[in-house]
Every structure is written in C-alpha cells, then in structure tokens.
Symmetry: C2
Amino acid sequence: MLERIRIPRPAAKRLILYLREIGLRAQSGVETISSRQLGEALGVTDAQVRKDLTHVGQFGQPGVGYSTVDLHQKLRRAMGTDQAWAAVLVGAGNIGRALGSYGRFAELGFRIVGVFDSSPAMQGKVVAGNTVAPMARLSEVVAAEGARIGIIAVPRESAQAVADALTGAGIQGILNFAPCRVTVPPAVRVTSVDLTVALEQLAFELRMLDGEDEGEA
Amino acid sequence: MLERIRIPRPAAKRLILYLREIGLRAQSGVETISSRQLGEALGVTDAQVRKDLTHVGQFGQPGVGYSTVDLHQKLRRAMGTDQAWAAVLVGAGNIGRALGSYGRFAELGFRIVGVFDSSPAMQGKVVAGNTVAPMARLSEVVAAEGARIGIIAVPRESAQAVADALTGAGIQGILNFAPCRVTVPPAVRVTSVDLTVALEQLAFELRMLDGEDEGEA
DNA sequence: CGTTGTGAAATGATTCACAGCT
DNA sequence: AGCTGTGAATCATTTCACAACG
C-alpha cells in the first residue's frame, strides 16, 4: 500500500545538496532547471541526478526540466526540512559556542532550545540565546520543549556519557562532533561530524599524490 | 614494479578510524588486537577490517591478531600522519576561531602557520597563536612556511574566492567548512565538512523513522 | 583452537542508452 | 529539438567461507 521506498544513503546525501542548490536558484528567480544543469553545479552526472530524484517522486517535464519552486517544495517535504526541529546542545566549549552562534541553524529549521555543560564554571553563561544549564536539567528541558535532536560538542572522553544522557532523556537523533563513535539504542540515529577524520583524509590524499610521481627519487 | 595500489575511498576512511582506535589501545598497554575486537569497537565486521588492512600491507599473526604498536606505526606511515603538515586558516569568524583553538590539530601533526581574514576589523587580533593578516599576504606566508593545506572557514558567498586565492598561492589540499562546493584545478584535493548537510541528514533519517510506523494513523 | 588473508559470491551504486513525452 | 524516466549493463564494495597458519 504505502510506497515507502528506501532511499540509498548516497542518494539521500545528494538530495540534500540538490535541495540547497535548487533553493538558491528558486530564490534568484530561475523557473526551471535541467538535470544536466543541476548536476554540473554540484559535480554529478545528469543521469545520477535523475535517478536520485526518482527515489522521491517524479516531477519534471520532458523537454523542459524541473520547475524549481515545485521541486524545492517536494524535496523539502521529502527530506524533512519543511518542519521545525527542536535541538539541545551539550557542551559550551569552543565547538559548542561556535555552533551556538552559527546563524544558519535557524534558517534550516533547527532551533536550539537548551544548552548544557557539566562544568560549574560555565553555568549561567549565555550561549545561543540560552543560559547554560547543568546536565541534571537535561531530561526536563527535552520533555518540556519537545526536543528530538541532541548535539554532542564535548571532548571524546565524555561523549559516550553524554550520548547515554541524551538517549535517556528521550532524544531520537544525535549529531556527534566528538572524534569517536558513540553507541546508542538501535532506535536512535547518530550522524557524526569528525574534523579529525576529515583532516586525515586530506593528508592521506596528499600523501597518495606524492607517492604517485615520487615513485623513485 | 611499484605496487602502488589504489585504496578505495570507503576503506581509506575506515583505516583512519582504525588508526585512531589502535593508537588508544597501544597507549593503554594492549599488545595485540584481533580484527573482531577492532571491528566491534568501531561498528564494522571483522572481515571488513581484514580486507581493509590488506590494502596497506599484511601484518598480523594467524591465531593471535595484530600487534598494536606495529600496526599503529605502519598505519601512520601509510596514512601520512607520521609527517607534519603546515596549514593556513582563512576566516577568523566563529568557526575559524573555534578551529584555531581546537587543541587536537597539533596532536595530529597539523600546525597552523597563518590566519587570514579580509575584514579590516579582524586585522591584528590573535587566533591560534597567529596574528590575523590580510588576504594580500597569503601567498607570501604559504611560500615562506611551506604550507600545503588551506582551511576555508568563511561564509558561503566568499568560499569560492578564497579557494581561488588558496590554489593561486600554491596550496595543494583544502579543508572546506563552507556549505557549498568549491571548484579547483584537478591537482588540488578538497575535503568538505558540511554542518548543514549533516544536520539535514539527521532530520531526514528521523523523518524516515516517523514515516515507517506512522504509515496509517 | 582462534585468527589471518583471500578468492568467489552477493550486494549495492553508478553509468549507459534509449523509448517516450512536450 | 531537448529532456525525462528507467531497464540493462557496468563497476565498486561488502560479505561469505575456507584453506593455511601459529
């Protein structure tokens, strides 16, 4: 009955990029866009773009392309960006504060409804428009605000404990900035942003390049 | 002649994780580790771990496992983490400053040798132990310090211009924190860390979960 | 025994190529 | 003419399963 089809992970990631690009185009008045144009802007083949888009539905006029506003709306719905998400932030250190003052969160429909830190020194300071509270108050705030997303911005050593606290409080999705894996109950989704991995990946690619033409030196 | 084999991208990413995990274990005195143990710690199957490791060489005693210190050293060499990398940081805003004060960079062998920002208001401030300099001085510093990596920590609108400046200055690898694609000459490697994509990915996964058991409500 | 390294099989993703629509 | 949507073919990655080893 319900055509709830599974969207491959790589395709989902690209759909997010398409959504962003189309939003920009729609805003600047472009009416239609072809799979080729969209692909070129993002470094993807036109066939890939079309295949990806069919995962979420089929709109697009042969001979013309896709209506930007239509596609934008449909993609927003499909990707969950059309609804507002309440999130709590744990960790008011460097990364936490940078995230807190990162304006684009709000634009994307994410609202930070609580900031927590275990350090007494941080208590009472204001981050992202929220007074930093102790971890003890986490559950209470999550429940009161209906937060579904938790952001981990603490050092590696405390990341797992924070993840446990978040899931204990009823959080359903975690954005993890700590350079480690956190294990959570299967119903909870985790997405990681790992700076150190990104850096090492880059170093690795440079290393490969070196190796290629230095073969014998 | 040279067995310069290509390592698949996904495998390379996991190798970085193995490297980190093994470093921790080696430091805490563990002598050997099996593919199963390593995989369990990282959420990967044992077969996957073994296959990945063969891409970089073969060490490991049947019946015993891998020597942590040996494997750690070999992996560091293979991944390029055994050498120091000089990097310049462009953008002294929220993200830039957070990155600058992120202690782990140094641990990983990355040294920030210059911080740049086009805003006159930032000139002269100190970030990551470096006095913020104007973009005009980029090439000079890159050359003098032998920097090979550039970090983009500016808003989307200026990201491409910064990328151009970096490649113009001779940078070979870019770590891009701006929420957009930057195009560069083919010889330059780019790795992106996109906060907004990570968040939307999470929102998307939660959305999928909702859909599944809400099918008819 | 337990564990590695690895071909072979299975799965998954991308690209091709073209029929069909506007 | 130009472009979409898609089955079929290719390519890549993961998993299986097992012989060889300590």
